[in-house]
């Protein structure tokens, strides 16, 4: 274990990790192919929205799937990231590192504050505290009209400009370019979060999820490590929120509403929590279904709700598990539920 309380890698102590295997390569190839094909299947803005909510859902899955922290307040960080980036962009700052750096710092600090209040509470108390903090932040955003635009949202958000050496400035006004940029961030976020989950830090989070006291008995400051995970999830959600503001050139007040916190949990659950591909798939299905159903019936949220309920009953491991194993209701036996 190093000085930060993380365990030394398993490979450090006498056992070598196996090299990259075919399954991992196939997964990476499938994800990249899906990201490339997506804008050919649907309007480019919907595809971009799926990428954005994919990032948001993967960040939330770090808490739900790995750490077992069921936060119902993640929209606070999504919205705060949107406001932070949107504020700079609406006031003429278009430097990409500045805008995203500011969004990450703001949402990271906000997540640290919410995490400090809530992380030591467990179960329903943790959920309710994150939910309450989300509502506090929502009303703060609603009231702080000079910065957030209040009920009207923060309008006038421009898209930043990417300055690359030897290439020059790449404006994101073209929706296809913005999709490509968002897709790259999606892939980077996925790689980063997979790395976090598979790291010794992620291992301790998974262990603490099963038995907090036992993990503490091995020398890990569990609450501190969970707080770090909460901050990482908040900061990555903030990046997603920043992208959302850039996509529609406005940060609506709804982006910080608790509905968003519930929706992202639905996305995670629909897709499956056992890998980062699951939440991304969940975001795809949720956004795509939302678009499809809203065209067919004015009371489409009812249908969406039924779909979520059906998924939870018949495919509790998420839709991704359909690709890897037969569902419990087909095979006639129930998978043992996860602890």
């Amino acid at each position: 274990m190093n000085a930060d309380g993380e365990p030394a890698g398993v490979s450090d102590a006498g056992v070598s990790k196996s090299g990259p295997h075919l399954v991992s390569i196939a997964k990476v190839a499938c994800v990249i192919a899906a990201v490339a094909v997506l804008p050919l299947m649907m309007p480019i803005n919907i595809a971009t929205e799926i990428m954005i909510f994919g990032i948001f859902a993967m960040a939330t899955n770090l808490l739900i799937g790995t750490a077992g922290l069921y936060s119902f307040g993640q929209a606070a960080f999504f919205g705060a990231g949107g406001y932070a980036a949107g504020f700079l962009l609406a006031h003429g700052w278009t430097s990409l590192p500045l805008v995203f750096g500011f969004a990450v710092v703001v949402t990271g600090l906000l997540a640290a504050a919410v995490g400090l209040v809530s992380i030591k509470r467990v179960g329903i108390y943790f959920m309710m505290l994150t939910f309450a903090c989300n509502q506090l932040i929502y009303y703060a955003a609603y009231s702080w009209r000079s910065v957030t635009g209040g009920e009207d949202g923060l309008a006038g958000v421009r898209r930043p400009v990417l300055e690359l050496p030897f290439v020059g400035a790449i404006p994101f006004d073209d929706n296809r370019v913005f999709y490509a940029f968002t897709a790259v961030l999606f892939l980077v976020a996925m790689a980063f979060l997979v790395r976090v989950v598979e790291s010794p830090f992620g291992l301790v989070l998974a262990a603490a999820r099963q038995n907090t006291r036992r993990a503490a008995s091995l020398g890990y400051p569990v609450a501190k490590l969970q707080l770090v995970a909460f901050i990482i999830a908040g900061a990555v959600s903030g990046i997603a929120g920043a992208l959302f503001g850039m996509l529609y050139r406005i940060v609506p007040i709804d982006s910080v509403h608790w509905f968003g916190s519930a929706y992202v949990v639905f996305m995670v659950v629909i897709g499956g929590t056992r890998s980062m591909i699951g939440p991304a798939l969940g975001a795809f299905v949720f956004i795509w279904l939302q678009g499809l159903l809203s065209l067919t019936w004015s009371r489409w949220p009812l249908l969406l709700g039924l779909f979520v309920v059906a998924t939870m009953i018949f495919q509790p491991d998420g839709l991704l598990a359909l690709l890897t194993k037969r569902p419990a209701w087909l095979s006639g036996r129930r998978e043992r539920s996860r602890s």
């Binding site: 030394a8 398993v10 102590a13 008995s217």
Partner: protein, 235 residues
């Protein structure tokens, strides 16, 4: 109290809610010493280990490890100070592999790495990629003892390592614990199996109703086991 004590427990009281579980428990553990703590169910054996580990808060009395007081530290700080706890319930991390379970607590510089754990418990060698929950009781016991060793503790707290295991597995665990005696390691062994405890320990501490009622050397215990057995309800 022993000279050159590694751990000194002095008059600790511990409670579960309003119910007092330990009454002024006092004993010490020397360097490289194996101390068996015996007593009936409910005598306070596990509570004593949990109190040392900071999992049950001590209300009065002190616990010192090395030259530092640890009774106000949190569990993870006590673990980092060099104490490892192998609970009676084993508590494998069921979603982690055997290898991940064992190596979760590994610290750089620890003399006990995965290779050494496998040397002690060769039965685990072929099971490294199984989940912790997929092992038999004996295999789980070996795994969690390995998990307790990889942080490189100076004091190992073992709670009922023989409980629920087949005699052949108990023998194997006993052989490994005997081999550990050659290491620079002190052990507190909580056991109901008196024969097993006496075969491994240097000293025996007898608890009854949350109090220490006798302390004797293991040699004395082997010579006159009835001195302990009367507290265990065997006679």
């Amino acid at each position: 109290m022993v000279d050159n004590a590694l751990l000194e427990i002095d008059g600790i009281d511990a409670f579960y809610g309003r119910s007092q579980a330990l009454f002024g428990v006092t004993f010490s553990v020397g360097r490289n010493e194996v101390v068996a703590v015996v007593g009936r169910n409910g005598a306070g054996k596990t509570t004593t280990l949990r109190s040392i580990m900071g999992l049950t808060r001590v209300r009065t009395g002190t616990i010192s490890f090395g030259s530092s007081r640890i009774d106000r530290l949190k569990a993870h700080q006590i673990a980092r100070a060099g104490i490892s706890y192998v609970p009676e319930t084993r508590d494998p991390f069921s979603l982690l592999t055997v290898e991940e379970n064992i190596m979760l607590g590994y610290r750089s510089g620890s003399p006990y790495d995965l290779k050494r754990v496998v040397e002690w418990f060769p039965d685990l060698a072929g099971l490294m990629h199984r989940r912790g929950s997929e092992l038999s009781g004996g295999q789980q016991q070996m795994m969690v003892i390995g998990r307790g060793l990889t942080p490189g503790p100076r004091l190992l707290l073992l709670d009922e390592p023989s409980q629920g295991l087949a005699p052949v597995i108990v023998k194997k665990v006993g052989e490994t614990l005997s081999a550990l005696r050659k290491e620079d390691l002190s052990v507190i062994l909580v056991e109901q199996n008196l024969e097993f405890a006496l075969s491994l320990a240097d000293r025996v501490v007898v608890l009854e109703n949350g109090s220490v009622v006798d302390q004797l050397s293991a040699a004395e215990g082997r010579q006159s086991p009835e001195r302990i057995e009367r507290y265990l309800g065997i006679h």
